[in-house]
Amino acid sequence: MSSMKLDHQIITRIITEKAHVLDLGCGNGELLSLLTEKKNARVQGIELDDEEMHKCVERGLTVLQGDIESGLSDYPDQAFDFVILNQIMQELKKADFVIQDSLRVGKRVIVGFPNFAHIRARLTLLFHGKTPVIDSLPYYWFETPNIRFLTIRDFIDYCRGKNIHIEQQYFLGKTGQIKFLPNLLALNALFVITKQKQ
């Protein structure tokens, strides 16, 4: 497990045995391969990039070439046990729509994103007056795919406002989980969310 990325480790722990999993923006399929191998999960990926998509097929994964915003439509309600939105939400134009539709399609949604309120990001902006480039946000302004910059607190507020239940939350540092002052010290966050019980 040690060579696994920290977020992948945690997601692998969250996913239940033989679960049906949809990964939106699954990249080269690294995470889905892990889930197939470790949890016998039945997985479906969606990825737009040609090369990444071919890598997924090489790994023997089931993957649809397409964009995420239209990728969810047509799936029946609650078709998957888990929908994964890992490190992709910051790139989405219609983030709210995708989260809501993920909650429709999946019984649980796992959302992972870089925390823009990390102390180094705050300090870079405060003392250097420059857009932060840190481990979890490694891009300069002119090359970043990110169009949204959100913090852990932003996301918690969002869930509260939209009546979304946060079932589990994990805050990630460079090497392990952060328990103290996560919005200041965590580079990344992972949330497991569900629709609020009526």
Partner: protein, 373 residues
């Protein structure tokens, strides 16, 4: 391409629906006896679990791979079928049969009607893609294969693959529809109608009864020319022909000045030698009637375990990518685990016969995974 098999392949024939049985058709009519011409490559294993059915396109035939005695060129999908290829004959048993309504050994309008002792001509019943597939099912049953590992095909072959999944979901594990659609759009029907009209407008067609007097060659050649335009893309035509002249200068006559004209004429007149005009009418009609959209697809199934690999090509304007995406949308509703790839290509609809390297990569990996699960 070097020859992959030292042995020649042979077309075989399977006859069914012999009296008192008949093949019931979707039109309400029936046909019998019916013969399917087919070829096989590779070996059927003891469990009969490694069979892949290859379905051909409009003008294809059972001879998908290898060389028949006297052949100068290999079967129409030889690049994909053979040892180490996408459909690896060391692993899989490949079956390809000529469609019912065709003219390459299977029963079609040019076959002898047992009632009259003459070719059916247009007394042959109108057939559908579903009828083609029902006939193939007889062949698969004859082999004793309960479950095909995969049904694969491009263009009209892809329609058959979809029809297999829809009509016989329990009899296949995987389905690979390539460069195809759930139904013909008005544009596709329109092209087919022009194709049919050009055949029927040729006086030599004689209401379909030309088997003694000879084919409506001019009409059939024009029909095929129309087809070839739709198989290419703007870009692939530019690359292949540009405005190149056959001779050095313009003739100022109605002759084939441009290479593209020469190409179409060559294709058209060659086609006449190998294809029956009435079969072209019947098969284009079957494609126009094909419609598995909405509730018509897998009507008995809420959630399917059939695995799909859907492939389209970016420059294909005859069966554009959005039609493949419609297939994917329908598969999502059936909870089908689907791989879809929109391959970048400039070859238009022909790409499914040309983009071998990319298709091989996808299909090989997909099948390897299907075989494991």
């Amino acid at each position: 391409m070097k020859k992959t098999d030292s042995e020649f392949v042979r077309t075989r024939y399977f006859t069914f629906a012999e009296p008192p049985c008949r093949l019931e058709l979707k039109s309400g009519l029936s046909l019998g006896p019916a013969t399917l011409a087919y070829e096989t490559y590779g070996k059927l294993n003891n469990e009969k679990s490694n069979a892949i059915l290859v379905c051909h396109a409009l003008s294809g035939d059972a001879h998908a791979a290898g060389f028949q005695e006297g052949d100068k060129t290999a079967g129409w999908w030889d690049d994909m079928i053979g040892p180490g290829k996408a459909l690896d004959t060391r692993l899989y048993f490949i079956i390809c049969s000529n469609v019912i309504g065709g003219c390459k050994g299977s029963t079609g309008p040019s076959s002898i009607n047992p009632r009259t002792g003459k070719p059916y001509a247009i007394d042959f019943p109108v057939i559908t893609i579903a009828d083609m597939v029902d006939a193939q099912k007889h062949l698969i049953d004859y082999f004793g294969i309960a479950k095909l590992l995969c049904v694969i095909g491009g263009s009209m072959g892809g329609m058959q693959a979809l029809q297999w999944a829809s009509a016989y979901p329990d009899n296949l594990i995987a389905c690979i529809p390539i460069a195809t659609a759930l139904k013909h759009s008005p544009q596709q029907i329109a092209f087919d109608e022009v194709i049919r009209q050009s055949i029927m407008a040729d006086p030599a067609w004689r209401g379909g009864n030309y088997y003694e007097s000879g084919q409506p060659e001019k009409g059939l050649a024009v029909a095929r020319m129309i087809g070839h335009i739709t198989f290419m893309s703007d870009q692939s035509m530019e690359e292949k022909f540009s405005r190149k002249l056959k001779n050095e200068k313009l003739s100022f006559q109605f002759t084939d000045d441009f290479e593209v004209e020469g190409y179409l004429r060559y294709r058209g007149y060659n086609f006449v030698k190998r294809f029956d005009a009435n079969s072209y009418l019947y098969i284009t009609k079957a494609m126009d009637y094909f419609d598995l959209s909405g509730e018509k697809f897998m009507p008995q199934v809420k959630r399917t375990n059939v695995r799909f690999l859907v492939i389209s090509f970016t420059s294909d304007w005859l069966y554009p990518s959005h039609q493949s995406q419609d297939i994917v949308r329908l598969l999502k509703r059936k909870h089908a685990y689907t791989t879809y790839c929109d391959l970048k290509s400039s070859y238009g609809h022909d790409a499914f016969l040309i983009e071998i390297r990319e298709e091989t990569k996808l299909i090989k990996n997909f099948l390897a995974n299907v075989r494991l699960t």
